[in-house]
Subunit: 338 residues, 2 copies
DNA sequence: GTGAAAGCGCTAACAT
DNA sequence: ATGTTAGCGCTTTCAC
């Protein structure tokens, strides 16, 4: 830490500490002349007030936490861009915490967030999370909390989501219209709100397709790539293999392509797929991949905006308000009708 | 911020403030019995010491900054995972700052980092950066700094890099061996160390292929997707279009595929490409993409480890030490010889 | 328009 | 083994 502080500046200018402080904050109590001098000296020394002293005194950290399962994921990294846009604009700092889909890590991260380190928390819950006491505790410590994408309905705070049910429905309907008779749904969690809503949409679409005799099936994909790959091999090597797949998150698409290549299954002839994905390369895959594309940047941006609105004390807390930003179904070759 | 603090605990237990503080730090001065009671009460109230008060007193923030151009990039997001692994283990917090390749943003971020907010900085410089006074200033304020990937050679601090020259050489050599006669190099910056080293490798490989009469050409790709797309269209629609491309960063690959599709240029028959990329989807592209794959996670991890080693005062500063972790050339169909 | 002084919550000498 | 106290660097009342 630098050895020059507000006291040094005060001495150097023959002014009091409080005058320096006020001048640096451009207070109207201070004469233009003094402000000039103070600012100039501060710039000269490359001085900015110690953020920890300032935060301690003000009881405000100018920092928010973003708690997500993974950063190497196009949805989350784009959401971070949205969050960072508004944080930057407001002069806030963003601490990133990664749970790697582990309940234990999530718990220990959240428990460390109630002590004033951050002014607010933006969060997407891990796929393992089925107990919410850590979140309730955070909620009870009165620190503003906003969920995005993977919300937790047990906690009465705002959430930014996309139209997951409808997206699951449209994806499935699209596969049915493309001629699929047996559609499998690749899941990653029984707990996650988004995954189950997408699943409900899928089920509803199948139910609504009376008379088309569609088989349905939910395949649970484990967290590691290798395990997921095995699960998909098992699925595709079986006698009753599907002719349509809904992949509920982007990391599930590559193993499907790989298994198809390995087993000589032709897409879209023998298998059609829709994937929830924001990857920039979906359009140049072989075949190009039909996707449900989420408004990741906008969801992150909106979540941050709502969090910042909660910082204004006078404003009433937006109790459990849900903001829905719709996703797009983008049709490409992986679902082309034969 | 919570209203319960160390004083509350002290009163509640009839002990002094300092006893509480020491007990919470598991000091050997405190009896096992007292520790028990203190820990229990702290847990009951979900109390942890105010990090800002603690940081102010200790002159240590337990926080590091990661300054990168972009997070929605597989290299940087994987590097963050490596950084986070070691930060988590050491009980450190990670603040992310995004420059979006803007020199101005980079400068203002760095200028705000000399005041004790973080104990150290990990950084990859922006492609616009050609003046290093902000970095020198940070260096002069004695806060530990480590570069990874995009290092700045003007500053005498450690850097973690990969074998960029050799990778550029091998990529080019591979294209030559696959029969290319005119190889274009897609650049994103004239300043960036990594880009120019890869470029030198490219030039050297061409120079070393005496007698094969290879044409070379460097195409500069602007920051936006649309502009890059135009640049590549111009390149590929021209009379003397290349039969080989080295794409120096991953975001340059999709537009090449798209332009080829649009103009009916067949890969790898009429155009072969090698791309510096860590995208998980390269193997399922059409055709699958030959890549130089960087050890992103390991580079992030190593950078963090070196930064943490600099925190130990007794250790000598690792003056301008360069750590090189090699990349892999992974051959796929985009460079298949006809 | 400027200054003196209290105190944010904590840690670490230094008592005892 | 426990307690007293100074002070980290800053902001903010309150006085002048």
């Amino acid at each position: 830490m630098g050895e020059i502080n507000i006291r040094t500046l005060a001495k150097e200018l023959g002014l009091s500490i409080s005058t320096i402080s006020k001048a640096l904050q451009d207070s109207h109590e201070i004469s233009a002349d003094t402000k000039q001098k103070v600012m100039a000296l501060a710039r000269l020394h490359n001085y900015t007030p110690n953020p920890y002293a300032s935060s301690l005194r003000r009881k405000k950290s100018n920092t928010i936490a973003v708690v997500i399962p993974e950063v190497a994921d196009s949805y989350f990294s784009q959401a971070i861009n949205g969050i960072e846009t508004v944080a930057m604009e407001k002069g806030y700092h963003v601490i990133i915490y990664l749970t790697h889909e582990s309940f234990e890590r999530e718990t220990s991260i959240i428990r460390d967030l109630g002590n004033g380190r951050v002014d607010g928390v933006l969060m997407s819950v891990s796929s393992e999370t089925d107990n919410f006491s850590h979140l309730k505790q955070l909620y009870n410590s009165n620190i503003p909390l906003v969920f995005f994408d993977r919300v937790c309905e047990e906690i009465a705070v705002p959430g930014i989501i996309t139209n997951d049910f409808e997206s699951g429905y449209r994806a499935t309907q699209h596969l049915i219209e493309s001629g699929c008779k047996k559609i499998s749904y690749l899941s990653i969690s029984k707990e996650l709100s988004i995954i189950s809503k997408r699943l409900e949409g899928y089920k509803q679409a199948i139910a609504d397709s009376n008379g088309l005799l569609l088989k349905q099936e939910v395949v649970h994909c484990p967290p590691t790539t290798a395990q997921t790959r095995q699960e998909i091999e098992k699925l595709m090597a079986g006698d009753e293999r599907p002719d349509g797949i809904i992949a509920s998150v982007e990391r599930l698409a590559p193993p499907v392509y790989e298994v198809c290549q390995q087993l000589g299954i032709k897409m879209p002839d023998e298998l059609k797929m829709v994937c929830f994905s924001n990857l920039p390369t979906v359009s140049i895959l072989n075949p190009s991949l039909t996707t449900i594309t989420q408004p990741a940047f906008d969801m992150g941006k909106k979540a941050a905006e709502i969090l910042f609105s909660m910082f204004k004390k006078n404003k009433p807390a937006p109790y459990k308000m849900l903001t829905i930003i719709p996703s797009d179904l983008i049709v490409r070759h992986s679902t082309e009708r034969q």
